[in-house]
């Protein structure tokens, strides 16, 4: 028999066992370990945890960076919600010796849209006195605190500058560690007298709050301030967590598919994502490391994003003049409305990209996709 401070075991009924509705902007649950907060479920249904749960990572291989890569800005990241970067690291697939004469300078910048102002996210590092060691990460330059907070829609990208003849960086990989910024991190000022339940140590052998059911949802938390009221957090019988308004319900994947050569790469099929569980694709962003104008009505590249044979989205590069996507180096563009009923992936489905040249087509350098999705089951 489980010991808990609050145990609900096989209660009859159809509503969630634990139901909280609040109209004063109170957070729902706050958990402390020996007086230090380790998690809370806030009034927006966001789960804020000091465990590794909130630490997200992405890895973006960029291939071989040429000795002279001054002209490219490699897209790294964009999000549909505000995030904070906590760490950036780089690696090469082979050792790069330091060289005080011919070296590469690497900096991470950001900007909002093609006409935005460029801001440094990190200080620069070089390979002048420190190179790269195979199988080892090297930290980026120091993060610029304020700039490491990335607003929704801001593009983060790499900028290379050569000294003398520069330095090849073979099999270059960027790694970004970040967390999604919660809408709010503290409840409206609290006093313990306001608490409905205040639990402490009690000689337990199981959890503090336990729900053991065969039919009902376990937890259901609602925002009653809005009209109509809305459920912001739910744990179903099967343990599926729903957070329909929480920023942390989104997950982000970044994939650099490399250079697309017009016409020659028409047979290529790049894979962006393989679903493990049911997934809803929410947004797709696309960018490149070199600018491309939509300046031709006769020669352009069509890029289609597919779930199996079902098209989720499509765009053209290089033209047509009226509808083609103009690319600015390093800037990621929102592809806008997706074909929603095709954007739900069953477990095992693969998100793919196909390429079709019209006439001589258009080359795309360092084509990068950012996939924003939710886990449904």
């Amino acid at each position: 028999m489980a010991e808990a401070l609050l145990l609900q075991d096989n209660r009859e009924g159809t509503d969630a066992v634990f139901l909280i509705k609040d109209n004063k902007g109170r957070d729902f649950i706050r958990g402390l370990k020996s007086n230090t907060e380790v998690f809370r479920i806030n009034r927006f249904g966001e789960l804020i945890s000091t465990s590794g749960y909130n630490k997200r990572i992405i890895h973006i291989p960029l291939g071989d960076i040429a000795a002279d890569s001054d002209a490219i800005n490699s897209p790294l990241f964009i999000a549909n919600v505000p995030i904070t970067i906590s760490e950036i690291e780089f690696s090469c697939d082979a050792t790069v010796a330091p060289d005080g004469t011919n070296y590469q300078s690497i900096i991470v910048n950001k900007k909002s849209g093609s006409s935005g102002t460029e801001t440094a996210v990190t200080a620069a590092i070089t390979t002048a006195t420190t190179g790269f060691t195979a199988k080892a990460w090297r930290a980026s330059g120091a993060l610029v605190s304020a700039a490491a907070v990335i607003a929704a829609g801001e593009s983060v990208y790499l900028d290379f500058t050569k000294a003398a003849s520069g330095k090849i960086l073979p099999g270059f990989v960027a790694r970004i560690e970040y967390s999604i910024n919660a809408t709010a991190t503290d409840s409206n000022s609290a006093s313990d007298e306001d608490l409905i339940f205040n639990f402490g140590e009690a000689g337990l052998s199981d959890g503090t709050i336990i729900s053991d059911q065969t039919v009902r949802d376990h937890f259901s938390f609602w925002d009653n301030e809005t009209s109509p009221e809305k459920e912001v957090f739910n744990v179903s019988l099967e343990g599926v967590v729903s957070q329909p308004y929480a920023r942390d319900r989104f997950f982000i994947d970044v994939i650099n598919v490399g250079d697309i050569t017009a016409a020659a790469d028409d047979a290529k099929v790049s894979t962006l994502f393989k679903a493990n569980g049911k997934i809803q694709i929410e947004k797709i962003f696309v960018g490149a490391d070199t600018a491309s104008a939509a300046d031709s009505d006769s020669a352009y590249e069509t890029v289609a994003i597919l779930n199996g044979t079902n098209k989720i989205s499509e765009f053209t590069v290089g033209g047509p003049k009226a509808t083609g996507l103009a690319l600015t180096a390093g800037v990621l563009n929102d592809l806008g409305t997706l074909n929603e009923d095709k954007a739900e992936l069953a477990s095992g489905d693969v998100l793919k990209v196909s390429y079709t040249a019209t006439s001589s087509g258009e080359n795309i350098s360092g084509l990068t996709f950012v996939i924003v999705y939710r886990k449904l089951d």
Partner: protein, 174 residues
Amino acid sequence: MPTLNIRNPLGKGEIIKIDQSQYDFLVAKKDGTESFSIDVNGLPDTTCNQQYYEETVNIGDIAADSDAITPLIFKKPQAVTIAAIWMGVDTTVGADAVNYQTVDVKRTSDDATILSSAPNTTAGLTAGTPVTMGTIAAEGALTADNSLYLDFTKTASGKALSGFTLHIIYTLEA
């Protein structure tokens, strides 16, 4: 009707506060079997598919002889268990039992392989169709900040892989 129904309580702070040092905060079970929990360190855990995290890592073009390179592909600041890895290419590779590439995934802490058996390209690979890299060995349990890297071994003249892509599936561990 809910069993515990709290509606529009007065006050400003959080509604439920739990301060303890040993036990899970919340536990949800389906007929006696845990389906969701938040542990003593604030780590949520579920038994449904939401427990899986996925990351796609496109390494790019791999030369037929890539024996000398060891690209890093993964590092997480928390203990994880690798559940599966899928590999694919953007251009079809034909079957070839003579000239092929073997791809292994290893961890940096001890250079141990995390795959029970490193796969190779003898059967070929179809563009846009990832294949499993096989069973993950016990070494797929990674401590925080332990990295993964790829190790290529050519047989005869090896095999070039265009747009070589991995899909890494993992779970978080306490």
